[in-house]
Amino acid sequence: MPSSRPSSDLILHRLSSSDYEIKLKAIREVKNQIIGNRTKKLSYIKLGAVPAVADSLAKANADSDFGSNLIVQSAAVLGSFACGVDQGVRAVLDAGAFPNLIRLLSAVDEKVVDAAARSLRMIYQSKLAPKFDFYKEENMDFLLSLLRSENENLTGLGAGIVIHSCETSDEQNILCHAGSLEKLISGLDGSISQRDASLESLATILKNNPEAVSKFVELQNERALRSVIELTKDKYPRTRLLACLCLICIKNSSSCYLQDIGIKTKLIYILLELLDDSGQVGEESSFAFSSLVAGKEDLQKLAFEANAIDKFYNHLQNCALHPKRLEGIFLALADLCSKLECCRSKFMSLQVLNLLINALTHDEANVRTAACICLKSVSRSIKSLSAGYFTNERIVIPLVRLLSDLCTSVQVAALGAISNIVVDFTPDKSTIIQCGGLKELVQLTKSMDSSLRLNAVWSLRNMVFLADKMCKEAIFMELTVSAVASLIRDPEPSVQEQALALVRNLVDGCMDCIEFAFAEDGIILDAVGSQLQKSSKIEIAIQGMYVLSNIASGNEFHKEAIMSLLFPETENGSHSFLSQYLQSTDSSLRTSAAWVIVNLTVPASPGAFGRIVKLRNFGIVSQIKRMVNDSCMDVKLNQSVSSSIWIPWDAVSEKS
């Protein structure tokens, strides 16, 4: 029968039979059923086949022919259970097969060694594999003996262990000092699988580790580096990709290597060409592309000139794309458009946006996240924002819907995109409010997850920037006074900072807006005051001071309220945080503090004289005089402008 389901426990019975023939046949049967067949793997795991097979592996004697046969077959079965199925890996580990497989690596029979090594390699491809402890000397001896081996399955296992378990720079350095680089480099001349395994392990050891990179480059007079460069031209796409990844790791760890424009361009072209591969390589090449261009304007420029955006767009047009591929391409486009306007306008002119909008409702969470991240990057274009390209319902409605996505990373990414989109430089933010976006955002400011709170407040902060009074009122009503006050006192400093920035934008502009800070007995202002007293982080203090500065630009009542916040009657003014901030080593903080004083002492206001007298009494004026020679132009400028209407240029912050 071709398709017998593992329906009964008969197979279990046979797997644990004491008759060698029956047992062997049963194990082989399971093997041929599950290899390549995920569904079958899952049903046999459920049936409890894994412990039975692990048992026969543990009990068989590797020195007898019968025993070694059983071991080879059992190891193949366990390896297949572990291949590509996490439940399988867990079941194999739970059944205690791992130490037995390790033990069998030192068997005499080469077939047994091969089978055990293959299974272990499968296990190490999963995140669930036990972490290898590089700090133990005997472990390192074992690992080096694997890497040194003539047997490809053993060197492959060694590489697999490095790729799986080497994470910290300490671990990378241990591997370097133990001479693993030399071993892996010699693998570059080996067979296809050895070469690929060596390249991937090298990339793992070199990643973000300048020390390891310089050691690698200096080895044999850059010969190793040259071999890796040579392998970017290899016949096999996978080898080309891994060689590129290795070079990207080198480049990203130490900017002094691979500076040549030729090699940079080459990497870009190779990765773009690898996109055409229909398999895993094509999927992974866009991720590699991202790490190559992320944060690097020169490489983004080169990629732009290599028509990278057209290329990605062409791939996106193929609607049957695998989710992983879609995710990779959107992330690559996000990195590509993160800095340069030419990239963003190319993106807009190709109508990639339409495809991105479709991806916002994709079934896979990772694709939705990637699409949001891409949108966030493209919407950094002031030109497109001003043209209102992103505030139409086609984008806003699906985006707002993503705010209540079940997956947190999607929510965070959607918030990121919204943060940028709401800075549309027009006072009208009605689309997003009408689509229910405001309610969702406010809801998320109450989330238990601090990253959601942070990004939601950030979005609101950008939303109230330059908004009209109606809009601000709507947002303020929805948020409520007490919620704003408690966000200012949030346990997370980053949320505090954004909440203060939100208030700063809220009270900017007309007199009525300033009144927001005094609602419900001024609990918001109290919260601002107490954060400034604590002065824990400079960024928080800066935003707090700008809140005060904006309020101080109001009427007499507002100005006096700030005066009494700065100089409470019970305290000695010389201990005032104002005085501290004016002397801060951070020029932005000094600037913000100076603005408060400028706005309090605008000569046109009737109480200005009285306030100057008070400031003098507290020693502030003499401080200001000293600041005329401030090295920071902004601070100096403030002192020379006696009356100024301050426009909060930096009141909105772009999400990068």
Partner: protein, 241 residues
């Protein structure tokens, strides 16, 4: 081989000259051919590479004894590989799958496309043998889950199952699936996968050299009239028209 290099060199020479089409006589051409030395060992390696890759194990063995050329792969592994290939070619797909799994359990576990094609071939064989019910059950149990995992598999599966809808399969639009060429296609895919798993090139070098020869002759044709090889099996030079 030698011809190939001559053609390339000639191309370069002509490139440098005027655009008018140069005529190269047979004499001149043969003289040039004679001036090219190719090591016998290299030719032998090329032949051995072909025999090994295509799986002619007995011929390879004999060739090794006669020419002293060492194959770049253990000849024993060829026998196993050929057994797999033969099993597919004769329609014993289940047997072929077991043999591949014995050879290396990773091959089918890490190569979903190949695994699908083998299962598809199994389905085709069931249909060929008129086992309709078994075929349907097999398609549902084994192939449908793969189709769920991959869109292109699903399309191929639909095409295959369509065979069941026709009375006269030899005349239906998907009839070519029952062709012997389908078996050969699947067999060569398995062959290539096994070779790759053994870190061996999956294609012999000889055919690609012949392809390069044709390409180079065509390039040269645009610039010069020369004695071409048109019949690759005899490699006879034909006088320029």
């Amino acid at each position: 081989m030698s011809l190939f290099w001559i053609v390339i060199r000639q191309l370069a020479e002509i490139e440098a000259m005027a655009a008018s089409k140069k005529v190269i006589t047979r004499e001149e051409w043969e003289r040039k051919l004679n001036n090219v030395n190719i090591r016998k060992e290299d030719m032998n390696k090329l032949v051995m590479n072909f025999l090994v890759t295509e799986g002619f194990v007995e011929a390879a063995e004999k060739f090794r004894k006669e020419s002293g050329t060492e194959p770049d792969i253990d000849l024993a592994t060829i026998t196993d590989r050929m057994a797999v290939k033969k099993a597919v070619q004769s329609g014993n797909v289940e047997d072929a799958i077991e043999k591949v799994n014995d050879l290396n359990p990773e091959i089918l576990d890490t190569n979903p496309q190949l695994f699908f094609h083998l299962q598809q071939q199994r389905l085709i064989e069931l249909i060929r043998n008129g086992k309709v019910e078994e075929a349907l059950e097999f398609a549902q149990e084994e192939l449908a889950p793969r189709g769920e995992e991959n869109q292109s598999f699903l399309e191929e599966l639909e095409r295959t199952v369509a065979l069941l809808a026709f009375e006269d399969v030899s005349n239906c639009p998907v009839g070519e699936l029952l062709d012997i060429s389908q078996r050969l296609k699947t067999a060569s895919e398995v062959n290539a996968a096994i070779l790759t798993s053994q870190s061996h090139e999956k294609d012999p070098k000889l055919p690609s050299l012949l392809k390069m020869l044709i390409w180079a002759q065509n390039q040269l044709d645009e610039k010069a009239a020369f004695p071409r090889i048109n019949d690759l099996s005899t490699a006879a030079l034909e006088d320029p028209a």
